[in-house]
Symmetry: C2
Subunit: 156 residues, 2 copies
DNA sequence: ATAATAATGATAATCATTCTCAATAACTGA
DNA sequence: TCAGTTATTGAGAATGATTATCATTATTAT
């Protein structure tokens, strides 16, 4: 599983070596649209690349995040979760977190209003505080379908 | 520093005991509009309530969060940060995080578009996935005024 | 192929947060 | 007010995710 060629490019262009662990991790991320944690990625990678170490998974994930190939998220469950940037690129989206079971779903909305709102907020932020916005994230908290029946809220 | 009376109410009404540590923590949060971390809160509380233990700070913060008196945030610096809910109540706001120095500023916007957008997204989320949104958070990432001059991005 | 050195793997070390449990302080009702 | 019942606390150990070390190995340029 050498992983997509465009990804190798990004790495070598950025001056990083194209190693086996990196390719495999990238590949695992590519085949799993979910938001995997470092440990989950470790297990997957371990399947066809045994010798891998957790440290390498973390280092690689950090490198990929810094390079912009991967997005790092914190959904409040105590561990970071990662998502291939190209995945998000094919349609920016936000996330909905179920406060009961922790489920996370990508929410690739079709509302166009967002662009305007963000632009307006960005302008305001810039004028009032001199900030320059580069990106934003919206998290929705609530109950997923399954959890709506068996109510009695939970954490967060 | 007994702390606001309305807060005591909330605690006793919820069936919790009105203890000295709780009142002091609540008071510290009330006097510090910033987004304090558990450790920072611990130091402040420690000033006029020495014997306090970190465990109690965490436990209390968790209790207050679960009770809805306090909001818990994760701005990506590796530690949770807290904010008195009443503070947010007097004007809901979002946060801007500087990706260079980590500074966080409350962004109490005056744009009204947000309500509509969120409503629209909520409707879509409900129809497509059966989710029921209870709240949402928007984080803006970028550079604060001070960090815009000395460029060369940073983390996250 | 060889040299130069970035990357890895095993492991120890951090750090924030949680758990354990005996001691203590809040509430209750007499 | 006082004793009884328990929630709460404080100290310290324990946990769990993430980082740092460092000798060994793999990648890349020559
Ligand atoms: Mn996603
Ligand atoms: Mn705030
Ligand atoms: Zn759920
Ligand atoms: Zn800054």
């Amino acid at each position: 599983m050498p992983g997509p060629p465009w990804l190798r490019q990004r790495l070598t262009n950025a001056g990083f070596r194209l190693t086996w662990p990196r390719q495999v991790i990238l590949d695992v991320l590519g085949q799993n649209p979910q938001h995997l944690s470092a440990e989950e990625i470790f297990f997957h990678v371990h399947q066809f690349y045994p010798g891998i170490g957790m440290a390498t998974v973390y280092r690689t994930l950090d490198l990929l995040t810094r390079t912009g190939l991967v997005f790092k998220f914190d959904f409040g469950d105590g561990r970071s979760r990662y998502e291939l940037a190209s995945e998000a690129a094919k349609g920016p989206h936000h996330h909905m977190i179920c406060t009961r079971c922790g489920r996370i779903i990508d929410f690739g909305h079709s509302i166009d209003e967002e662009g305007e709102l963000i632009a307006a907020l960005g302008k305001e932020l810039s004028e009032k505080h001199g900030f320059k916005i580069n990106s934003h994230r919206i998290h929705f908290y609530g109950l997923c379908q399954d959890c709506q029946s068996s109510s009695t809220e939970g954490k967060r």
